[in-house]
Symmetry: C2
């Protein structure tokens, strides 16, 4: 609670503007002076003159109009060369600024991303936000390709702002080669860009938290990753009645497709088409699937399989001996041991929109069905070889910063994050500004945060600021106390106030 | 210290690969099956058949060759559609990946940037890395303009990867308008891009820490900013004998230029030229200054003034009544009170390379003179009006992540930052993988970091990994102990080991 701006022990006269007044030179008058070459000869002589030879800036040149100053900083020299150009004060379309209040939320989110990653023993990595375009060009017709934020740079290289982190991670894994002992457990938090049409209130950039495990072929890896996202949800107050995970395996599709002799090399493309179910009309889906080489019968059968929501039912169709079933069974069994069974459910319709997944896929969704997927991931054991590297078993997830914030808003779970400062330190006299600086330095050396009042302001203003920045203590440096080596302290929550020796100030 | 991989109480047989073997289906054989439309009719009938109608994946199809698996993940399905394209495993020229070891250093640096900013009561902000190009185009001939990483986006907008943070900050201040009570004390840590020729081992991106104070016309603001960078240096072990600050004021130049009737609108351009002293031949500097409208005499005089290293000497030239002198005097007086006099020195040659500075300018340098400027900043009271906003007094600095790391290397001050995990948890039997997961979950819920061994691996491997990730404890989940509700714990630094009930595991 901010203290009331009253009842201070120290009530001293207060200068609203206690600094030495600036010398208000009217620079424009200088322009009428002619250069004075005579001064140059003597300026840098062996015995320089004790006083300036440059034009005097004495009182005769005072222009009272120029000393008003204030918010516009009119006390400083006139503007430099540049012409004024009216710029748009908004960030580019589809992008965000992060003023302090938004940044606090982002930092809180990232802190929780990092903390969960730490609890799971993952190491942080990062990659350039600008990558070679080739890294993101896949031939499966993904939406992500059409939305690539790509350019040609000054060296005529095709570059792109990354739309996702996984290809960069794969690149780094290839680069590290055998020098990195497996498994790698890496996480990253990075900004990703998609040049989307701005129709659905979507933005063109978002931050994404990724966790990836490289080198573990077993489903334990996927189970661990899902566990970490659930840990995250729990930390921020989201429960299993708010959010669930739909889990399936690309191997389900693969087994179906193969039974209908659909060519292997259509697999990525078919997955990308299937991911659009629910987003575009089913007739278009069917048409696209036929274009991808599937017979009408195969398409119908595939759509039927995709509607399955029970592992038992799936097993009736696929038999119990395939990898799809055994992976999924193992995952659900592990979920029980990890303690998150209530969070996950089998849903054959989940395939994810990226071409490179090969095994288990999962996505987190809000149970009210209002929002897009909150997070998603899966196994991508064959990505490295598409870049010319040796394949390694790999899985990971991406978790954006946008939908989760919408969910937290919906559920009333957004944290209250105020700016907070431990101390506000203020000199009561212009001559004591240095003393106040010394007090601030001393407190900061002890690890205490200090907002130092840098201007001559009335006490009322100081109290208002103290309240706004949620300062815990107001420390006033007044002449009488300072001469005794003391300062005046006011605890702003209780109103308690006392004087204390500077050496005893903690 | 890593424990030796021996003397465990529990010595149980260990399965190198204890998971249920994958069912080694030879998928390629599927392709020879013809579609079986007959199964479709019954597949989704009201009474689905209890067993699969899809082609059996029984033992007759086992291809022993496909069960080898291992690092390359050969147990997973064949690759999807995409053709292999050999990509460059390196990040784009002039950019960096951050593998874990480099990321730890970056995180340590950023943590210290943030901690100092917090101690000074600053709030964090951020802006898009991609901004409108217009934000960075100034007419003063700055190097930064020639190096702009600019593009045309899909909507034919001219955009640029930001080369610095200040224009974005100014944009946000204009956007916030009067809703933000002054002074604003903001900091940001962001990646900046410059398309430099790659000749001097320079990179095209770096991260920059900025602190800015908006709304304070007094020199106390500059004094506070210099104080914060010095706090940073001290935190990371850098002393006043390693690093100093050269301080001057653009008003020095302005007073000289005006005395020679150099047009006001040449000011930014002249500053940019002067900043190149020491980087290009002095004759070129002189030529450029003449092009900017200065007489030969004025140029010679200016260069003489720039060589001044003492405030007293400067005062002899400029007189004692101008703003340049009074600002600088005040700054040096405050430096004494802040306690950092030994760090700073007057040096008229410091002007900084950005056109928009109007007052005090400063830069941090290594006293051995081996490196480029470590950080730099100053007052820019007229930047907002160049964007069409109302001017506000403002000052700030930028502090890159590159030169400081070079300095720390030079001085042997780079911190030792190892990956550290509190626990490594490992099941001793395939059936106990779920139990190990439960142990990991329990520890993580208590805030302990856990590297969970996700694969069947020999104990020797587990110890090696434990040493590599600097695990403090190894927790083994073996059958006998687990049946008693216990696990085996080994403290890896001392070799001490004991059994403990899971409920008592802290």
């Amino acid at each position: 609670m901010p203290a009331k701006p009253c009842s201070l022990l120290i009530v001293q006269p207060r200068f609203n503007c206690y600094f030495k007044p600036y010398f208000p030179i009217n620079f424009s008058s200088f322009r009428h002076f002619s250069p004075r070459p005579t001064l140059n000869a003597s300026l840098f002589s062996a015995n320089p003159r004790p006083h300036s030879s440059l034009p005097s800036t004495g009182s005769s040149q005072i222009d009272p109009g120029s000393s008003r100053g204030g918010r516009t900083g009119a006390l400083t020299p006139p503007p430099f060369a540049d012409e004024v150009q009216k710029i748009d004060a908004n960030p580019p379309k589809g992008t965000r600024d992060f003023p302090p209040e938004d940044m606090r939320l982002r930092s809180w989110l990232f802190h929780n991303f990092r903390e969960v990653s730490r609890l799971f023993g993952f190491e942080e990595v990062d990659f350039p936000v600008l990558e070679s375009e080739a890294l993101f060009i896949r031939k499966a017709g993904e939406e992500i390709r059409d939305q690539l934020y790509c350019f040609e740079d000054r060296g005529n290289r095709r570059v792109a702002l990354r739309p996702e982190l996984t290809p960069s991670l794969a690149r780094l894994v290839i680069q590290k080669g055998k020098s990195a002992p497996l498994p790698l457990k890496w996480f990253a938090i990075g900004q990703c860009w998609r040049y989307e049409r701005m129709t659905r209130g979507r933005r063109r950039e978002h931050y994404q938290w990724n966790m990836d495990i490289i080198g573990v072929p077993e489903v334990t890896a996927e189970a661990e990753l899902i566990s970490s996202t659930i840990s995250f949800f729990k930390r921020i107050g989201v429960t299993a009645s708010d959010v669930g995970f739909k889990v399936s395996s690309r191997k389900v599709l693969q087994e179906v497709l193969m039974s209908y002799s659909v060519p292997e090399d259509s697999f990525g493309r078919v997955c990308v088409i299937i991911d659009k179910i629910g987003k575009i009309p089913v007739e278009e889906i069917k048409k696209d699937l036929k274009h991808a080489g599937m017979s009408e019968v195969a398409v119908e059968d595939l759509l039927q399989v995709l509607s399955i929501k029970s592992l038992e039912k799936l097993e009736e169709i696929l038999g119990d001996s395939g990898e799809a079933i055994s992976d999924l069974r193992q995952l659900f069994s592990l979920a029980e041991k990890f303690g998150y069974s209530e969070w996950i459910q089998f849903d054959a319709s989940v395939v994810r929109g990226l071409a490179y997944y090969t095994g288990i896929v999962f996505e987190g969704f809000d149970r009210e069905g209002k929002l897009r997927a909150i997070c998603g991931g899966g196994r991508y054991d064959k990505l490295l070889s598409t870049f010319g590297g040796d394949d390694l078993p790999a899985c990971g997830f991406g978790f954006g910063d946008a939908v989760i914030v919408e969910l937290l808003k919906e559920k009333g779970l957004l944290p209250k994050l105020d700016h907070q400062v431990e101390n506000i330190v203020c000199a009561l006299d212009s001559d004591l500004q240095g003393a106040a600086a010394a007090v601030a330095t001393k407190l900061r050396e002890k690890g205490q945060s200090v907002d130092l009042v840098l201007e001559g302001k009335p006490l009322k203003w100081v109290f208002k600021r103290a309240a706004r920045i949620n300062a815990q203590r107001l420390i006033l440096v007044g002449l009488d106390e300072w001469q005794k080596g003391m300062v005046s302290v006011k605890i702003l929550s209780s109103g308690e106030q006392y004087e204390v020796k500077l050496v005893e100030l903690e």
